[in-house]
């Protein structure tokens, strides 16, 4: 691009050449290339990361929730379950619980993706993003890339808390890392649902409301906290098809046994399906907003 010209003399640097209209028209291309789209998405991710660093309170949910929920669920439900089933106390519940908490915290993190996008869309700077010749997916996908950091913190902290209160993952470090990676992927995939909601809802508050309605059945009607066998049959059927259940099962197999089971495949498939449906919907809805 000609715009990269930098004048040698500081005094004259105020006069950069204006593009000649005819040349500019000839040079203007109809679409962004794949490489440009990636680069633009990464630039938007950089922006989101900067903002995260400047507003550290955004990390409250991904730090406090794993700490609190892990301890709370372990001692409240763990005690009750071991009492009923007569197993060896809280520790016996942890291998079941920890992967469940990982899935839950990652999902909650997804929700804030949508809420923050909605807040962001109302800011003046989005007018500029819209006016720039950039891929329409970049402003949506950028913050989601940055959110990978949040998923990592959430999943990592949950396992750490678990280990502190006595969880000993049988799959060892590779198993734990594998399940963290899987949770991050699923979180990123499901975040497209919430990004879509972010582009259609009227304001951040309604994004939150709608997201809760989706989030609660997904997390609690899964095998995250209780064995499926204890559920009534109608509920159990939903729990078995819920993608979160697949994530939880896959994460358990990985972290507890070091086994890559068929559940990993189902989780990946479900994630890809969500992206294929909701990424184009989000971009379409964002374009319509313009």
């Amino acid at each position: 691009m000609t715009t990269t010209t930098v004048s040698q003399q500081p005094k004259l640097s105020t006069r950069l050449p204006v593009a000649d209209p005819a040349t500019a028209v000839a040079r203007a291309r109809a679409h962004t290339s794949f490489g440009e789209t990636v680069s633009q998405t990464l630039s938007m991710a950089w922006r989101a990361l900067k903002k995260m660093r400047r507003n550290p309170e955004q990390f409250f949910d991904v730090t406090l929730q794993p700490l609190l929920f892990t301890a709370m669920f372990a001692y409240i439900f763990g005690g009750a379950i071991s009492h009923v089933s007569g197993s060896a106390g809280v520790k016996a519940y942890l291998p079941l619980l920890i992967p469940g908490i990982v899935a839950q915290t990652v999902l909650t993190t997804c929700m804030s993706t949508g809420v923050q996008l909605r807040e962001d869309l109302e800011k003046g700077v989005f007018d500029r993003f819209k006016s720039l010749p950039i891929a329409r997916i970049a402003p949506l996908a950028g913050p989601m890339i940055a959110d990978l950091v949040r998923y990592l913190i959430a999943a990592g902290l949950t396992f750490t808390t678990g280990v502190i209160i006595g969880y000993r993952p049988g799959g060892g470090a590779p198993g734990v890392l594998g399940s963290i990676a899987l949770a991050i992927f699923t979180g990123w995939a499901l975040a497209w649902i919430f990004t879509f909601i972010g582009t259609i809802a009227r304001n951040a508050r309604s994004v939150q409301g709608i997201s809760m309605l989706i989030l609660f059945p997904l997390t609690f009607l899964s095998n995250a906290f209780v064995p499926v066998s204890t559920l009534p049959s109608a509920l159990a059927d939903f729990v078995r098809v819920n993608p979160v259940s697949h994530l939880v099962s896959a994460a358990r197999d990985l972290a507890n046994n070091g086994v890559i089971s068929g559940e990993v495949g189902w989780t990946l498939l479900a994630g890809v399906a969500v992206i294929v449906v909701f990424a184009p919907l989000s971009v379409y809805s964002y374009k319509r907003h313009i």
Partner: protein, 331 residues
């Protein structure tokens, strides 16, 4: 003949029942400052947003340097810079970070984006604030940064939406100088404004917009001549003399005065200030008593009153009369 920077035919934008832009034709030549003048809610911003691909065009066609806005928005975005009414920069980033980010998004390499940011900050006198977060910027600094951000790719056409609304007079003057500098560099500028003096100072040609329609177009001089160069404001002692006063004014200056019923006065457009004396003598001879008198330069209100038959303060007051009148072309 060179391709016009902007050419639009029959532009329409509706929001539900409301026709925000109601069939506007425009042609902006290369290298000129084109002013779009109108009160709040006239449809200026909506029109600009359509031309800048920020709003879909409901009907009509628009071309930027011959490129169809509706069909090839991505190409149009490579030809224009847009500076909105509200600073479109990121509040959480510093000035340098903002410009660097926009540079990167426009395809500059990191080092080039940094150099361009530095140059632009110097050009807009923002060097000292380069690493401050925008939240600490004054209104004028935000506008300058916003304009700087629109210049990163050195686009040949720049849209400015009310570039000086809310600025103090000194900052306003600086902004005008900057805009003139851009044109000297070879840019075409299309700006919207609510202020006649701003359009007068800057614009080569002006389109007056009201209720989503173009009510007049011409050079600042042509527009001002159409309302008279100045206005004599006369306060009558009683309403009984109104008809008589009307006849006197008509005879003396050959124009019809405009009554302002709420204040019991009348406004007389004048070609020269001298004519004010003639009108006053005429009124005295006819026996019309007046309580106060003043001579004012034409304001946007008067341009509006003359062109549309209603004032800018209450744009929906005389909706019907405006629609029915064939619009006035000042050439």
């Amino acid at each position: 003949m060179t391709t016009p920077s902007v050419s639009a035919v029959g532009l329409v934008k509706t929001f539900g029942e409301f026709r925000a832009v109601d069939g506007i034709d425009l042609e902006v030549r290369q290298g000129e400052i084109f002013g779009v003048l109108g009160p709040n809610g006239a449809g200026k911003t909506t029109m600009l947003k359509m031309l800048a691909t920020l709003l879909p065009i409901d009907a009509g066609q628009a071309f930027i340097f011959g490129v169809d806005v509706a069909r090839e928005p991505h190409r149009v975005r490579q030809l224009v810079g847009v500076t909105g009414q509200y600073a479109s920069v990121d509040e959480d980033l510093t000035a340098t970070e903002n410009l660097w980010l926009f540079g990167r998004l426009l395809g500059l390499r990191s080092a080039d984006a940094r150099a361009t940011a530095r140059d632009l900050l110097a050009q807009f006198d923002l060097e000292e604030a380069a690493s401050k977060p925008i939240s600490q910027f004054s209104g004028g600094m935000r506008r300058r940064l916003d304009l700087a951000a629109s210049l990163i790719s050195r686009p040949p056409l720049i849209f400015l939406d009310e570039p000086t609304t809310g600025l103090d007079p000194r900052t306003r003057g600086q902004m005008w100088d900057t805009i003139r500098g851009l044109v000297a560099d070879g840019c075409t500028i299309m700006l919207t404004t609510q202020y006649l003096d701003e359009a007068d100072q800057l614009a080569d040609r002006i389109a007056v917009i009201d209720h989503g329609r173009k009510v007049a177009e011409g050079t600042p001089d042509e527009l001002k001549t159409s309302v008279g160069n100045s206005t004599l404001q006369v306060q009558l002692a009683g309403t009984a003399d109104q008809d008589l006063a009307w006849q006197v004014v008509r005879r003396v200056v050959g124009r019809e005065p405009i009554f302002t019923p709420e204040s019991g006065g009348l406004n007389v457009p004048l070609d020269t200030a001298d004519a004010a004396a003639d009108v006053l003598i005429g009124l005295r001879q006819a026996g019309v008593t007046i309580t106060s008198v003043s001579v004012a330069k034409p304001t946007l209100d008067e341009v509006f009153l003359t062109l549309t038959g209603h004032d800018t303060g209450d744009p929906y007051q005389s909706d019907e009369t405006v629609r029915d009148e064939p619009y006035l072309e000042v050439r």
